[in-house]
């Protein structure tokens, strides 16, 4: 209707406005051009957020002044502008189906998908033929755990995994148990690492799969992949690892680590959401029963049209990660140290959950004694952090990962996960320290338990009477 008629006219004027806004170094606020620009250029997204006054967002009954500092990189990462730049052409004119064999649209998309496959494979030291695109790490985990066991169901009846795995691995195992398979959920040590001797002795002749995640999503602990791979190789059991949180952050080499199957995700490495990959070893070949029936795309492992823009973005994110891993790693480690030091200087009774030594630096999981995690988060609207994984933070139950480490229930309730990433700045860390220290002190002032503790009373020895 009218909007269609307006469109060609609007574009040049919008471009002119954009240019004007760029050239003027003044902030958008007072100029009349700004109000015009927001009226004409307002994106459909802004409607959902009620931005009544300047710098104030009202959403879910909470008033937030300004977009919060983002420190939740384990939930998801922002998309890198280099990735957006690679993806956009495939949302515009190059929209072809990569499986179309009869025209240019299909060919150019197929070429882009295959080049992305090479980029993903290069980051993990694999052959591009071993990479299968999926919708994400959850799907890859499902195909790995259920697919391998169902394929070899006649001979293999047992799976070994750990108690701190991601929900999708645990849930897949639960599913297998209902189908009559046996699952061993290995406990972890108090630092979050799996005990290798225990792992080796848990493997039986009918074990069909060992699944241990590379980097834990809640506590950031890095499991000894190489050693686990060696044990699995000796025993002739395929080794699956969920590397969603590890890809692009720690070096991964499927040969050196003896990995048989691996789950990868795009949106944890500054790529798009909705895409991931499954690494499936060719020599010796590991086979899986596909979950999706259909056109036989991805060589029958995962039917369904491969989403070219997402896959291109994932490939580009891997390429960028390969180039930037060292630089990002150095920076993130320095920021983590700054955050931990800053908090510890001003607050007592702060505990790091999980091993500090065997940890990916971008994850810092802290427990603030006597402060309930959720109330701390409520008081911290200017920082986007969470008390654990996004999947479980809706419930008030303490994290099962922390409980597996043997963290006391009261300390498990006080945990906060800080996720530092490529785009985090020093100033953001400094402000976070200030806000955390302020809020924790305020909450502790209200806590009778903290007072008792300061007086030297052992809280655990207190006998609570009921009235």
């Amino acid at each position: 209707m009218t909007s269609k008629a307006m469109f060609p006219k609007l574009l040049p004027s919008a471009a002119g406005l954009v240019r004007r806004i760029f050239l003027s170094s003044r902030p958008l606020s007072s100029s009349s051009a700004a109000s015009l620009a927001t009226a004409e250029l307002s994106s459909p997204l802004t409607n959902s957020v009620d931005a009544d006054e300047e710098g104030i967002i009202t959403m879910k009954g909470v008033r937030i002044s300004g977009r919060p500092i983002y420190l939740d990189m384990q939930a998801t990462t922002p998309v890198d502008p280099r990735v957006v730049d690679a993806m956009l052409p495939f949302y515009l004119s190059r929209f072809g189906n990569p499986h179309s064999r009869t025209h240019l649209y299909g060919w150019e998309s197929e070429e882009a998908v295959e080049s992305a496959r090479t980029q993903v494979a290069a980051l993990v030291g694999a052959n591009p033929k071993e990479i299968f695109f999926t919708s994400g790490a959850t799907e890859s985990n499902n195909i790995s755990v259920k697919g391998v066991m169902r394929f070899y169901r006649d001979k293999k009846r047992h799976v070994v995994t750990t108690q701190t795995e991601h929900k999708c691995v645990l849930d897949s195992c639960r599913h297998l148990q209902q189908e009559g398979f046996d699952v061993t959920y290995l406990p972890v040590r108090s630092d979050g690492l799996v005990d290798l001797e225990r792992l080796a002795s848990a493997i039986r002749p009918d074990t069909g799969l060992v699944s241990v995640m590379a980097v834990n999503n809640e506590i950031g602990v890095v499991q000894p992949l190489e050693e686990i791979g060696k044990i699995c190789k000796e025993k002739g059991v395929p080794f699956h690892t969920d590397a969603a949180q590890a890809l692009g952050k720690i070096p991964i080499d499927v040969e050196r680590m003896g990995i048989g199957l691996m789950s990868l995700s795009g949106h944890k490495i500054y790529g798009p959401k909705g895409v991931g990959a499954l690494y499936l070893r060719r020599r010796p070949r590991i086979r899986v029963e596909p979950q999706m029936s259909g056109g036989g795309q991805e060589r029958g492992i995962r039917s369904g049209t491969v989403p070219t823009p997402l896959v291109v973005g994932f490939g580009k994110a891997c390429e960028v990660a390969m180039k930037e891993m060292e630089y990002d790693g150095r920076r993130i480690a320095a920021l983590q140290e700054r955050l931990l030091k800053g908090i510890r200087e001003k607050l007592d009774r702060v505990v790091v959950n999980g091993s500090i030594e065997h940890r990916y630096a971008g994850n810092l999981n802290l427990s603030f004694a006597f402060v309930e995690g959720e109330s701390l988060l409520m008081g911290l609207q200017a920082v986007a952090i969470s008390s654990g994984s996004a999947c479980t933070s809706a419930s008030l139950e303490p994290s099962y990962v922390l409980r597996a480490l043997g963290v006391d229930e009261d300390m498990a309730h006080t945990s906060i996960r800080f996720g530092i990433g490529r785009f985090t700045t020093e100033a953001e860390i400094d402000n976070t320290i200030e806000l955390i220290v302020h809020t924790v002190k305020k909450l502790r002032e209200m806590s009778p338990l903290y007072e008792l503790d300061k007086e030297g009373v052992d809280i655990k020895s207190v006998k609570w009477s009921q009235h």
Partner: protein, 96 residues
């Protein structure tokens, strides 16, 4: 190999400085606080890392890479501005 390397145009200091300035200028135009800071930081650190490059071929390669980054940044500055949220980061509002 050697012939092609020597035939390569030597990148002048002026060209490099101009690229450095263009990258910084473009970085400052990103509407997103974090991206703006990153683009600036990465430019400065990138040039610092490559300060000791002496081989003309690797200087030329780094120069070409910088130029392609500049092209990406110029396009993305525009894209980010088109969909910039109405409200800025707290870092720009409160802690200027």
């Amino acid at each position: 190999m050697a012939a092609s390397a020597s035939a390569m145009v030597v990148t002048s200091r002026a060209e490099l400085l101009s690229l450095f300035r263009s990258l910084l200028r473009t970085a400052s135009k990103f509407s997103d606080f974090n991206i703006r800071e990153y683009a600036r930081r990465r430019t400065i650190d990138g040039f610092r890392e490559n300060r000791h490059l002496s081989d003309p071929a690797s200087v030329a390669a780094a120069f070409a890479d910088g130029n392609s980054q500049l092209d990406i940044a110029r396009r993305q500055v525009l894209v980010y501005s088109l969909y910039a949220p109405n409200v800025k980061s707290v870092m720009e509002i409160k802690y200027k």
